[in-house]
Each structure stands twice: as C-alpha cells, then as structure tokens.
C-alpha cells in the first residue's frame, strides 16, 4: 500500500505536526535535511490558533462519545436505583426484582439461542456461497441482495412475522405438539395463532443472518490466496480446500460474527414485541408464553409511570449489561484477530 502511514525511518522524528513534516517520504536523505533546516516552519504563526481549536474540538468529540457510553450506564443506573431499594411486594409480581427479571432474562436467552441455532449455519453457508461458491460475476450482486435483508426495518419483520409467518407456522406447531409432544420443548397444546417463542426465534434468525453473513464473508475473502491454491494444487476438492484453508483461518471471525449476531438477537425489540404473545415462562416453544426483556419494555413503557418506569429501566440496564458483555467479547476476538491476520 502506497497510501500507508509508514514513512522512511529518518523522517519519523520530524513528522509530528505543522507544515512540511513528510515532504521527503519518497525522496532521499539530503532533501530531508534541506527541508528540516529551511525557514518554512518559522515563517508564520498565522493559523496556529486554528490548528489548536480544530484539534481541540475533534478531541472533544471523541471524548464525548466515551462520555455518552459512560452516561448511558450512569443514567440507567440512577433511574433504575429505586427498583433495587423498593419493597419487594411493590415490584410487578410481588416477589422482588430478581423474581421479576429472571424469567424474562431466560426468555431473552431462549429466543436468542433459537435464532442463533438457525442463523449460524445458514449465515456461514451463505457467506461461503458468496465468497467461494457463487459465480464470480454474480457474487457482488448476491452480496447486495443479502445486505437488503439487513436494510429492512425490524418493525416490518415484526409485522411480517405477525401476519404472514405465524399463521403459516401454527399448523406445523400443531403437528409438532401432536407427534413430538413428549419432548418438553414441543409440549402441547400448541398455540392456535402461532405467536410463540419459536416463531419469534425464527424471525430473529432472519434478522441475524445478514449480520453473520456480512462479517464472515469479509473474513472468508481475507483468506490468503496462497493457502487456498496450495490446497487445490495438492488435489483437494473445493470443500476440502474450504475446510483446511478457509475455515481454520476464519474461525475467530466466525466466532465473533456469531457473538455480534447474538448481541443483535438479544436486544431486538420490535420483532419479538409483535410476534410473541407474552406470558409466564414455559419450557414449551410452541405454546403461548415467555417474554423477552426488550419486548417487555416496549410493550409496557408507554403506559408506565412511577416505580414501574424505574423497573423497566432496570430491566433495560440488565439488557444493556448482557449485550455489552457479549459485544465486548466479540470485539475483543476481532481486534486480537486483526493483529495476526496479516498472514499473507
């Protein structure tokens, strides 16, 4: 890369800031000396204030972002605080905050896990399709098509799940409950409307697929060509090449893509709020019941006041912490991966 920031070592010291720092990046040493001793630098102080102000406000903007993330946590904590000190009987359900939040945390995790179980294999396969299997000329277009999936607003997925998908799946749920009802997760009686946890999980999966796909695709494309060609030259079939050269290289990327998808599935609101008809925590995925944190907030916040408001904000805080941890792990894996991905 010619546009890189790396300069010849002899200019490293002179290129802090101000005019004429790296004139010499592609020239010879005598020129460097020439420039560093000329009077350009000292000629004028005009504009120095502008420099200071500009770097100051851009620094401020950067710090502001950190402050915002920090204050998200602080404000949520402050507004949530009354919940933790309140009398347990005043909390919804009457058994304290833990008893209130635990079922919906579990519900959130169940929905996200269903979504991931469906979306991870499909997402990775689609990424492979675009990066290694599709005809070269069409691959770009296919990439755009999958990106379209990500562009559709979540409320439209919710409406689609509510009106189109749930009634379709209801018949399938009845069959599941009748034939596989002995497995706890398919225990009947199945919901007549199809507005169940499984439907919510499927809608979430549709929303997570483009995330997993786009990130995995990036990593698959970074696989060193030499590794792939070496595998093929040894007589490997395409799948053997993918398994031996592409997948090992991309493993950290796949893991973090899945984690980011998990973060999205955990925090997704509208799809669940519209698709799921909420209720108490039940093991069966085809019965009405269960609830997720995000949907609980969205459904109840508009009418909430007083302690209920604090309670919902506390629920939001719990969601924030969970997704923050998931995202930080994912980002950590990606950053670590970046450092040694310069294999080629």
């Amino acid at each position: 890369m010619r546009t890189g920031r790396d300069r010849p070592p002899f200019t490293a010291g002179t290129s802090r800031n101000g005019p004429g720092p790296s004139l010499q990046s592609k020239s010879t040493a005598w020129k460097a000396k020439d420039v560093s001793t000329n009077t350009l630098k000292a000629s004028t102080d005009r504009g120095r204030a502008g420099d200071k102000i500009f770097s100051g406000i851009s620094l401020a903007a950067g710090v502001l972002i950190l402050a915002v993330l920090f204050s998200v946590a602080v404000f949520l904590l402050v507004q949530a605080a009354p919940t933790f000190t309140a009398d347990p009987t005043e909390i919804t359900g009457g058994n304290g905050f833990t008893a209130y939040i635990l079922p919906i945390v579990i519900g959130t995790v169940i929905a996200a896990i269903i979504a991931l179980i469906i979306a991870t294999p499909i997402g990775i396969a689609v990424a492979l399709f675009i990066s290694h299997y599709a005809p070269r000329r069409l691959a770009r277009a296919f990439g755009y098509v999958i990106d379209l999936l990500a562009a559709i607003p979540s409320v439209i997925y919710g409406a689609w799940g509510y009106i189109v998908l749930a009634p379709q799946l209801a018949k399938g749920y009845e069959w599941l409950a009748a034939n596989l009802g002995w497995i706890p997760i398919f225990e009947g009686p199945a919901s007549q409307t199809g507005k169940t946890m499984l439907t919510a999980g499927i809608v979430l999966a549709v929303m997570v697929i483009p995330i997993i796909t786009s990130l995995s695709r990036e990593i698959f494309l970074q696989t060193p060509n030499l590794h792939e060609e070496a595998a093929l030259a040894m007589g490997a079939t395409r799948w053997e090449m993918v398994r031996m050269a592409v997948l090992p290289f991309a493993r950290p990327g796949i893991i973090s893509a899945t984690m980011l998808g998990l973060g999205r599935a955990l925090g997704e609101t509208m799809a669940v709020a519209l698709v799921l008809s909420p209720g108490a925590l039940v093991a069966s995925l085809v019965k009405t019941g269960n609830q997720t944190i995000a949907a609980e907030i969205a459904l109840n916040f508009p009418e909430a006041f007083g302690l209920r408001l604090n309670e919902l904000i506390a629920a939001g805080l719990v969601l924030f912490v969970i997704t923050l941890i998931v995202n930080m792990i994912a980002r950590f894996i990606i950053t670590r991966h970046k450092e040694f991905s310069g294999a080629n």
Partner: protein, 368 residues
C-alpha cells in the same frame, strides 16, 4: 503414433472416474418427478413438492456421486448443494417480506394516505368505511413528518460529532491509547440494543426536565446514540484511504494541518462520507423501539420537535397493527400499516441507492 497413444491414455486417466456432466441433471429430473409423486401421496402442495424434491435430489446426487466418483467427490458435492441451498433459504424471507409488503401495501398507498393525518379518524370512521365499502380515511402524513423531523435532528446531532471523532481518530490520535479506547467503544456502541438507547435518552431527559418528558427531540437524541458509531466508522474508513501524498503536498505548500483537513482531506473523501451518512440515516429511520419510549405516539401533525408527542412511520405501523383504530374492524388499520411499511421500505431503499450512487459517482480517484 506412440505420442498419440500416450495422449489418449492421459486423457482417459484424467477423466477416469468422472461422471458425465449430465448425470446431475438426470438425477435432478428424477428427483422432481419423485417429489411430485411423493407429495401427491401426502396431499399435494407446491411447497411440499419443492422440499421433498430438494431433499431427494441432494441425497440421490450424493449417493450417485459416491458410487461413480468416490467418497471425497461426494462430500464436496453435498457441501456445494447445502451451500447453494442455504442461500436459497436465506432468500425466502426476503422475497416473502417484499412480496407481502408490495401486495398489501400498494392498495393503501394513495394521495389520501400520504397527505392526511389520523386526526379525527376514530373506530367509528373505520367501521363505516368497512360497512359502506368507502375508501379508508386517515393516513400517515403526521408520521412521515415526524420521521423526517426526528431523523433530521438526529442527523444534525450525529454528523458533526461523528465526523470530528473520525478526524481525531485518523488525523490526530494515531497510535494513542485514547484512540484505541474510542475505536473499541464505538464498536461496542454499534451493538447497543436500540431500546436501551431509547431508555438512555428517556432517562436523561427525565432527570433534566422531570419524568415523562417525551418529545421528538428526545427521540432524536436516542437515534443519534445509534447513529454516531455508524458515522464514525464509515468516515474513519474513508479518511484512511485518502492518499498521504495529498496531505504531504498540502503541508509542503505551508498549509496548516486543520486547513489541510478541511480543504484537502475532507473534500477528497466527501463522497464516501456522504454515502456513510446516508446509510446511517437509512439505519435509524426504521428504528421503532427508541421512538416508542421517547416520543410517545400522536395521531395529529406536530411541527415542533421540542414539545408534544410525535409519531413516526415505524411507530405508526406498530400501533396500527397492535392496537387497530377500530378493534372490531381491523382491516383499515392493517391496510394503513402495510401502506406505511411500503413507504418506509421505499424510503430505506432510496437512501441505500442514493448512498451507493454517491459513493460510486463521486469516488475519489485514488491510485488503487
């Protein structure tokens, strides 16, 4: 003569153990026929036919390859089928969603829908429309206005902050710890659930102006929490690909660093920055959850983002579906919801297209 023979032998060696290229198509045809037969046994439906044919085809083709070409080739072929199949499965929801929105949205998308609000449209009005078969009254004008205002304010907040942060990251803070921290947390911020961003804005304004403060501006703040990281990331990428030679040429002429940034670096990268900003607008314009908890819901036009509740297209869709205006006759509400969904998708697609267009047409001529 001898050379010719070896050539022939080599060719046959190279092609030995290969099925003829039409083998797969024969298997496919057989699978389709078999699928039709099997699905008509259990009650014919196109979906059942397609699913059974696909399963039969994949299994049969794998077995045929295993017999004819060996296990490794069979595995390779199986994976190829599965990968193609995954792509087709991923397309299904996309096609279904777009088809649903078009089919149900087009009838409702008329002048009346675009240019009237829901002010005065009650359940009785809807009931009458259903009984008499008259056109559905009421529309999403107020929601369109709300969407535009809130998104505009969110953009006004996020773009300067995002742009300046990206400038700091690329031009001033290279290699500093603060830069690493900002980059990391910007990445983390992209993963904040949208409803948490909404709660943050709600909690912030509840502390400042008393509980229950819900205006369009609160929603704009919530959206900018979601928007800033996207703007930062895209702008950062764009600033990074501005060739260093341009900066150096500017410095060589004695131009100050900040003038170099505003007059050389940013103009060079402006197409990418603009397309990134457009994409981030497309991302937040469809957000529902933060609006629900920050701007409330309105059925009439509100021009003031600083006071009063406001509706946006996504919340309009949500409420029209979940709480129809007339509980006994939900059809008019559903129709309005799908028309609004179509309008929203059109807006998002348009923004995406504009972003791609801007990025392509005004791309800097780098030496790549």
């Amino acid at each position: 003569m001898a050379a010719n023979q070896t050539l022939q032998r080599r060719q046959s060696q190279l092609t030995r153990g290969h099925l003829p290229s039409y083998a797969v198509w024969v298997v496919l045809a057989a699978a389709v026929v078999l699928g039709a037969a099997l699905s008509s046994l259990i009650g014919f439906s196109v979906i059942g036919w397609a699913v059974i044919s696909a399963v039969v085809f994949v299994i049969a083709a794998t077995i045929v390859t295993a017999v004819g070409e060996g296990e490794r080739k069979a595995k390779d072929r199986l994976v190829t089928f599965l990968v193609y199949g995954a792509f087709l499965i991923a397309l299904l929801p996309l096609v279904s969603v777009l088809w649903t929105v078009l089919e149900r949205g087009v009838p409702g998308l008329n002048y009346n829908f675009l240019f009237t609000s829901m002010n005065g449209v009650t359940g009785a009005v809807d009931n009458q429309a259903v009984e008499n078969g008259t056109p559905v009254l009421g529309g999403a004008y107020h929601a369109v206005l709300g969407t535009l205002q809130i998104t505009l304010w969110a953009t006004l907040i996020s773009v300067p902050i995002g742009l300046l942060t990206a400038i700091y990251l690329v031009e001033y803070g290279v290699g500093k710890n603060l830069t690493k921290a900002i980059t990391f947390f910007v990445d983390v911020m992209t993963g904040i659930p949208s409803i948490v961003a909404g709660l943050f804005a709600a909690a912030l304004f509840a502390l400042l102006f008393g509980p229950g403060t819900r205006t369009g501006f609160v929603a704009a703040v919530a959206l900018s929490v979601l928007m800033i990281p996207v703007v930062v990331r895209s702008t950062e990428e764009m600033l990074k690909i501005v060739p260093n030679e341009l900066r150096e040429a500017s410095y060589a002429l004695g131009v100050r660093k900040w003038r170099t940034i505003t007059n050389v670096v940013i103009p060079t990268a402006i197409s990418g920055i603009a397309s990134g900003v457009t994409l981030s607008i497309a991302r937040v314009i469809g957000e529902t959850a933060p609006i629900l908890v920050t701007a409330g819901f309105a059925s009439s036009i509100n021009w003031n983002v600083f006071s009063g509740w406001m509706s946006t297209l996504p919340t309009f869709i949500y409420y029209q579906i979940l709480t129809p205006t007339s509980p006994t006759a939900p059809d008019p509400s559903t129709q309005r919801a799908w028309a609004a969904a179509l309008l929203l998708i059109l807006m998002v697609m348009l923004l995406n297209l504009v972003a791609r267009f801007v990025a392509r047409m005004f791309a800097p001529k780098t030496s790549r």
